[in-house]
Symmetry: C2
Subunit: 349 residues, 2 copies
């Protein structure tokens, strides 16, 4: 499955990685630590370990967002060079959010390695994230050499609004931790920001920078948002019913982590009084016993949470495909977008 | 002294505050907490406490950076409306850095009130800072309605590079805490980023958006950088020899806080072996005794640190004034820039 991804998109992934790497290498450095932390986070420090300089190893991210930017541009214009700055910007900004999220969640591992705050302390991890955010926007400015300045400015507006939405989503998520009355609907609002906004911006920007047709731009934006939602809820699903090892996270499942993800919120909402009281008691604990975990799984089963969750993923996924198809294009990049969507929620590959 | 500032710049300060407030009010809100935290941080929550809605109270910042943007624009073009987006952007971004700095330094008070992380926790304070950064850049985008798009993009580049420099400076500063061998020269590199970059960007952007004359733009940039350095070292001076109360910080002096500011680094560098060993021992402690504090003050006196520090402030201050004068303008805004510079380092007012 991962091989399909690498094989299908190797040219674009190499292009992304090369430009990303070059963008960082070419800059003046005042605080060497910042660049060292960025190198480490992006998985470039250990490049020699892989021997072949291959762009995609298990210490890098999958570069899904920049790939979406490039594929949408290709589908609409047959080329992708003009949107590379937007692709880099989104990837860099996505990584800034990961670094800060790891600080907030006190996550000790990402992509099989220590997180930045564990290695360099909380303060420097906050700084590294802040610096990456600036670099991400600087990458975006390179659009000036590739599209009309008005288009570059409009694209920056789209990206910045997505950043605000991402942060607001993250704020809701942090707030949820203290609450016992979060509804599944509120959860969907939260992930639309936290997870959906940047993926939506990816497809929207790929389109915005390649066509003037507002209907088409909106369709790709719609595709991205719904894909982002399906992808996030699928991630939630795997966090409970998937294999921990395959996700590159520590083996602690989302239940042990008392994460109030969609499947769990369904149980909170739909369980009867007695069961809900039990769940509330369990989710107020600092650490769960094996018996607690068993109770949560039973509650999930009682409300048929797995099936409901799969159904909701399917709803968003079908909306994403409809939006994509509504563009009415038939070319290789457009077909690859469909395949990529299928891949991301592991529907078929 | 503060009255002089308020009286002289009241029209511009009201303009800044009104536009700043309106910029926040007019936006869609997904996570109400974010907007609440911003309101609190900018000092708008307690507006009713002052009774008169006055823009500048002791809970707000002084809005020095946006004021510099506007005054430079006025000096060059006789108007300031076209640079308002840049002025707002810099003020918002400056405040994002303050919020994150407070988290990193674990500062509990700012402008006589609790800091955001104390009130809402570290995670939400990080988020609030991240969100303000995005909003700052969004404010900057409003330049598109006031200047040519190419100029707006160039201005964004200047601002973003200043943001990177600010973060790198902050990273050096955080790194200094762990080190005992920081030189006064390294300290100056640090504050050139942490404190100088955004003040430099303020004067540079005011000019860049008002003239095409590169010599003039560079002169104002030079003015801003040197003013920023003089201002920061003056702040360090006051942190040791000033009155704590007048600064709106908690009454802990920089000596008690074991801050390695310029005057202290001079002592580290210039003290003899025995005294340096004593200082190293003191600065390795978690908490200083009265005797420790007395020793530090004696060391400062031994190397004549106060006078050396005042002399360096004077060097940067005179460089700032020379750069300002080199523009060769004589009008009210230009005179006000000189007076503002004098005010900021309390040379005369």
């Amino acid at each position: 499955m991962k091989n399909w991804y690498l094989a299908t998109f190797s040219d674009l992934l190499v292009d992304i990685e090369t430009h990303l790497h070059d963008f960082f290498k070419g800059r003046p450095q005042v605080a060497p630590l910042f660049w060292q932390m960025a190198d480490y986070h992006f998985g470039w420090t250990d490049r020699r370990e892989t021997g072949n300089g291959a762009p995609l190893r298990n210490v890098s991210g999958k570069r899904i967002r920049p790939l979406l930017v490039l594929l949408v541009a290709r589908a609409l214009s047959g080329r992708h060079e003009h949107v590379l700055p937007a692709a880099l910007a989104i990837e860099i900004i996505h990584n800034f959010t990961l670094i800060h999220d790891d600080v907030m969640d006190e996550s000790t591992e990402r992509r099989h390695r220590q997180t930045l705050w564990v290695k360099w302390g909380t303060a420097q991890a906050i700084n590294a994230g802040d610096g990456l955010y600036s670099l991400g926007m600087l990458a975006m400015l390179d659009l000036r050499d590739r599209v009309a300045p008005e288009a570059a400015i409009e694209a920056m507006g789209v990206l910045l609004k997505a950043c605000v939405a991402t942060v607001e989503g993250q704020m809701l998520d942090v707030g949820f931790e203290q609450r016992t009355d979060v509804t599944p609907e509120e959860y969907l609002t939260m992930i639309a920001g936290k997870s959906g906004a940047l993926i939506q911006a990816s497809t929207q920007l790929g389109a915005l920078l390649s066509t003037d047709d507002r209907r088409v731009i909106d369709a790709y934006a719609d595709f991205g948002l719904n894909l982002g939602l399906a992808f996030q809820i699928w991630d939630d699903y795997l966090g409970i019913w998937g294999e921990a090892e395959s996700m590159g996270k520590s083996a602690t499942s989302d239940i042990e982590g008392r994460k109030k993800s969609y499947p769990v919120l369904l149980a909170f909402q739909q369980a009867d009084e007695a069961l809900r009281a039990q769940l509330l008691e369990i989710y107020a604990r600092k650490k769960l016993t094996r018996a607690n975990i068993r109770t949560v799984f039973q509650a999930l089963e009682t409300v048929n949470s797995a099936q409901q969750t799969r159904e909701l993923i399917e709803v968003y996924f079908q909306r994403a495909l409809s939006a994509l198809d509504s563009v009415g294009l038939d070319n290789e990049a457009q077909r690859q977008l469909r395949e990529l969507a299928l891949f991301l929620v592991e529907r078929a590959y």
